[in-house]
Symmetry: C2
Subunit: 526 residues, 2 copies
Amino acid sequence: MVSWNNLDTLNSFKELNRLGKVSVKEALSGEAGAKRAKEYCVPMACGLTYNYAAKAVDDVILKGLAALADEAMLSDKFKELYNGAVINTGEKRLVLHQLTRGQLGDDVIADGVNKRDFYVGQQKKIAEFAKKVHDGSIANAAGEKFTTVVQIGIGGSDLGPRAIYLALENWAKATGNFKLEAKFISNVDPDDAVAVLKSIDVSRSLFVLVSKSGTTLETLTNESFVKDALKKAGVDPSKHMIAVTSETSPLAKSSDYLAAFFMDDYIGGRFSSCSAVGGAILSLAFGPDVFAQFLEGAAEEDKLAACSDPLKNPAMLDALIGVYERNVLSYDCTAVLPYSQALSRFPAHLQQADMESNGKSVNRFGEPVGYKTGPVIFGEPGTNGQHSFYQLLHQGTDIIPLQFIGFKNSQTGVDVDIQGSTSQQKLCANVAAQIVAFACGKDDENNNKKFDGNRPSSIITGDKLTPAAMGALLSHFENKIMFQGFLWNVNSFDQEGVQLGKVLAKKVLAHETEGALKVFSDMLDI
Amino acid sequence: MVSWNNLDTLNSFKELNRLGKVSVKEALSGEAGAKRAKEYCVPMACGLTYNYAAKAVDDVILKGLAALADEAMLSDKFKELYNGAVINTGEKRLVLHQLTRGQLGDDVIADGVNKRDFYVGQQKKIAEFAKKVHDGSIANAAGEKFTTVVQIGIGGSDLGPRAIYLALENWAKATGNFKLEAKFISNVDPDDAVAVLKSIDVSRSLFVLVSKSGTTLETLTNESFVKDALKKAGVDPSKHMIAVTSETSPLAKSSDYLAAFFMDDYIGGRFSSCSAVGGAILSLAFGPDVFAQFLEGAAEEDKLAACSDPLKNPAMLDALIGVYERNVLSYDCTAVLPYSQALSRFPAHLQQADMESNGKSVNRFGEPVGYKTGPVIFGEPGTNGQHSFYQLLHQGTDIIPLQFIGFKNSQTGVDVDIQGSTSQQKLCANVAAQIVAFACGKDDENNNKKFDGNRPSSIITGDKLTPAAMGALLSHFENKIMFQGFLWNVNSFDQEGVQLGKVLAKKVLAHETEGALKVFSDMLDI
């Protein structure tokens, strides 16, 4: 049996606070720095590597982190999770998103079914459906093939699938795997739906309505928008719309949909990209084989996460270093900086996955914790960020740990040679340069041109951003978040903090307000 | 003469630290809260209003902030700036972006010309050019009208113009002001240029190359990409490309461009949206009249910023409250949360404008400061953010001040009524609800469902997001950043922190590396 204890009760954590701090600047300088840059890395799946040479750790601190992993029973807790324990104690639910892409442990039986079989079954149903759409045996009333797929969903039903679609769109076009263009309607702002609907031929579009409960107000509102548009175009909505929902939702057996694919309560929205939530739109956009490659990459990375040695488990090590930065070094934010335009929305997805999971002030028993938990996560792709907020990262008064991502090769392979180097080489040169600039800084007589350095970063490198590599990346961060939740002793799988706003918004719409809420409502003409 | 002093040397700042703190929860509760919600607001230009009722201030603290504004000579400093003083001391430059949209004070003569005349002259040249493009008198070789305009630029030449284009695209389509579709190529990642070029008909596209110096490596590299694509399509690049640059740059008089429009050294990239940098693409996309409305909105808001009473000067008040939160209450981040999908990239632009301006550790004399300066800025549109990172904002261990933005009406006016309310009403109900949820919280026996409240926010409300309102919004934040820079006594108009990365990247590309930098370069196959 594992025991769940607050971070600040662990002896190994107290010991970590007593260890000498590491100067990243000194550590990464000279020949010792070069040696360290080569050695401080862990292989990931699909040829990726996690390099932590520019983090404020040394062999002593790494040993301390391993002791922390051990005392916090990180491996045992993950084992409990993938073997089907009720890890989401608040909602009394299992946590099974890893099971959508592979089976790490025992059979998990819940609600009378083998859950791995259930997820694989949904994937097969989706694959069959997608193939029929691609070969035209499912088509519009005029017998024309669908050209566009539109996801209607918000939060976890939007950010992850959208980030992954954008990550693989150019790869798919370059490799002949591009089947349908995907669009996304998420915001309840009517201008969002109007703009997307104007940009497509609705008569050739298939809509994927995603809502686990079947009651998400934003999503049902946008469904109405779409149905109106379809009717105005003389199209039968029920022939253009599929549902991704839970088997018990009102959408599950409705004749309003061409088909319904199922998820369940054991996969939270922000962890649902590998379930039918991501599976339907990604299989339709790129084909089920590409989605299968993506799942395989994630499954490979999950296997590494099951290893008890943090030096062989990149997600666990990343999590431990992050907690060290947050709770020993007192850094409050983390920036995610992919040097890949394809990953333009991946930071926004991680912002959700991380901040919604670990932005908690009570432990899993509902007791307030006396230490900082999840940090603010933000980021934009490099090199764009360099010309934007990097000024603060280099010379601001706060130190912000950085997570770089970079690939040797571009997705399309098209390039130009200017001033002796390709664009891809320039991109990679920039990320290599930034790691060292942040770590080592530069002295100058003019303080305004001086860089203190000592700003820690890690980098995940890879050959190319493929579906499998994308799956491995996603798994890495999902598992990092899980391990950090274990360390902070919070329940990473509920989100009670989103409820109050919903309740008050309903009151406003029912005109049941008073005091300041009434004033703000009047101000906005509601 | 104004005097420039560090924040922590000011008596009014020391006094602010001694004042009693305000509980936002108490202040916004009951009838007193309703009264406050009505009264704690300042009119802005174009019908906008800045409401700070949910900020941790009261009349005593507001008086203290007014004393701080006075002692820091905020108004006098702004006056020096708009009258043409060398406010950017690091680079020994005037700071004139406000002059692009109006003249608040004396004639500003620099380099032998009246700068207001210079900026207006460029606007007129752009307007004439844009009209010729729109009426077809400037067209492609086949005599066909241009349909698309593509900005090639990075950082300030990208984020601001892109955010404003997205903000007004649907408005323009709904009001018959949509002339050309705009696209943006920014990243040196070759996949960025490839994807944009694949999505357009290059033979009907006009490209705007934006680089003040004419030497920005990313931008020149992307120019080559575009030229290659044009040549492959059998098109003469010089007939499809205009330049926005400084008069002294190598691009200024080159025959490679159909026309060149000028900016100068007195407008930093992140403040250049109102100069030719934003003017060319926005005038081409929406027509010069729309761009003129945008400038007028900004000019109106600038006039308010020139008022010495912070209670009548929303930008100054916003700046003062922000510094109070950063340096008295010790909050480290600010989230920008527009309830408008059209403003989807406005937080990214503000992230640049703010973090690049005030992410500094030395004062304007190059002396290290002993207090925190610019915070981390991040944000996404609501309601999307509610289903993402709001969990941490509500229940996380850090308090993050929030900046909401909301409009009574949508841009397109198209809407559906579901469950008794329109989408626009739902959108507005949500932002009103969030202000009160964050401020007042909710008690619960279950700590996991408890909301402590006391999380401060402000909101800018308006009737509709029009070009003028967008101009006013931009001006508000630009001036807020300027006032905060004055308070922190930093130079908000240089960006030395971006230099080191550039220098090291060049070394990598020249293979002049050693130590860790060589290892990282090898790792990425450069």
